[in-house]
Symmetry: C2
Subunit: 255 residues, 2 copies
Amino acid sequence: MSAPAAGPPERDPPPSAPVEDYLKAVYECELRSGSAATSDLAAALQVAPASVTGMVRRLASQGYLDHVPYRGVQLTPRGRAVALRTIRRHRVLESYLTAVLGVPWDRVHEEAERLEHAASDDLVERMAAALGHPRTDPHGAPIPTAEGTIAERTLGSLADLAPGATARVVMVSDRNPALLRYVAEIGLHPGTEVMLVARAPFGGPLTLRIGDRDTQVGPTLAAQLRVEDSAERAGAVECAAARPADGTTAPTGTP
Amino acid sequence: MSAPAAGPPERDPPPSAPVEDYLKAVYECELRSGSAATSDLAAALQVAPASVTGMVRRLASQGYLDHVPYRGVQLTPRGRAVALRTIRRHRVLESYLTAVLGVPWDRVHEEAERLEHAASDDLVERMAAALGHPRTDPHGAPIPTAEGTIAERTLGSLADLAPGATARVVMVSDRNPALLRYVAEIGLHPGTEVMLVARAPFGGPLTLRIGDRDTQVGPTLAAQLRVEDSAERAGAVECAAARPADGTTAPTGTP
DNA sequence: TCCCAGAATTAGGCGACCCTAAAAGCCCCC
DNA sequence: GGGGGCTTTTAGGGTCGCCTAATTCTGGGA
């Protein structure tokens, strides 16, 4: 009651939609490359680099980011909390819209991208509960908990797989609807087992065995397909034929 | 291909959330009092009157409104289409969130108020389909069709009912969550038959018979309760006792 | 008819986000 | 060790939506 300069009870306004988008983008850049450069963010957010600099300054002044000029940014715990909360909303929404309302796989991302800024926590938790608290979204990406923890896994790219090796597709890291549609069309849903049959030299197409069918895909597409971590994959290579199904259920590691 | 000045194929950007809110407010003001004054809109939107003037000018220049300075505004067909589309989204969302996800009656409005600007038409139609294309929202308000027609009915206020008369509550025209909670608590859900037992003089409380219980409510609350149109009500008065249930099902006229 | 209270509009500003162009900094390669 | 190329930041604007204060208009009553 008399504390003069200590923790003031002032509560700043909730983060705006652009703020949530920036923090989400920083989180994803950090995850991918360990750090987030201005140009990475500009590309991810489809915004001019100068705009990123301005917003980053503001976010840093509000305690969401640490910014070392010319050196990129890092999330503070406060910023990470907002990012994970936003990602949870996004992925729960994607799961719900797909599973309950039948929104197609390749269109659900853009829908969730807008709704994630408008849905209340209460609503998101109701959706999660209706689905039995799923651990991954329909693209195979892990859903952070309401408490802000996430089971991130280091994933490899299908493009890096050794010929003859088998791996489980975990997710597709591209948002392009046409690409998503095509990936679904050739049967590469999250959780699918796929074997790299052959790789043509000089950036030529990769031959994949999906189920009992062989399909050829370009290296660009293959690079977008995230598969289980290379360590696990190395194991998978050795006993690929001997291990037809170890955990064919959920694409994410269930405990 | 050579038309020099005819209909240019330029498509302007989709209306922003504030624009949708303004047009919705104009629609509701027109419905209530036949016209929309600057001060009405300012009150409805919780915004300074000067802000309304500015926005109204912009909306008029974009063809959403007709504005006669110092005389108020009117929706153009284009503006009405946006308003009805927004109201449809809002009411379908309210219906879905209440019926499927169990969002409480008194909290669903604010949730829909945000989601209505973010949900795609496709999503809203999926929700409507999942519910079997409802005609009214949980507050009893009619839902416009996807084509933009609405079955508006002129509703009276419970406060204007003659003592002894019976009417069916159609909706509550107040967004105050505490009021909505109280109204639900005393059993006044949309569709409920209610009889005005007595009215204390000089702005005193009204005694209502709801089911087999009498409840007293203040005139302010009673004024918020919309009941079937007075013409129908007049009829209802005369054969109130003789007509226990004519269409006890849906509060809106089902064909 | 005149006047005045209340409603509406104009004037002048502010913050959030975005842009282009120009300047500055960083780093690798010669 | 000095450039040159790419990245980042600064400088200077623009739009949208909102605000307060000052001004103008409208309409009803004396």
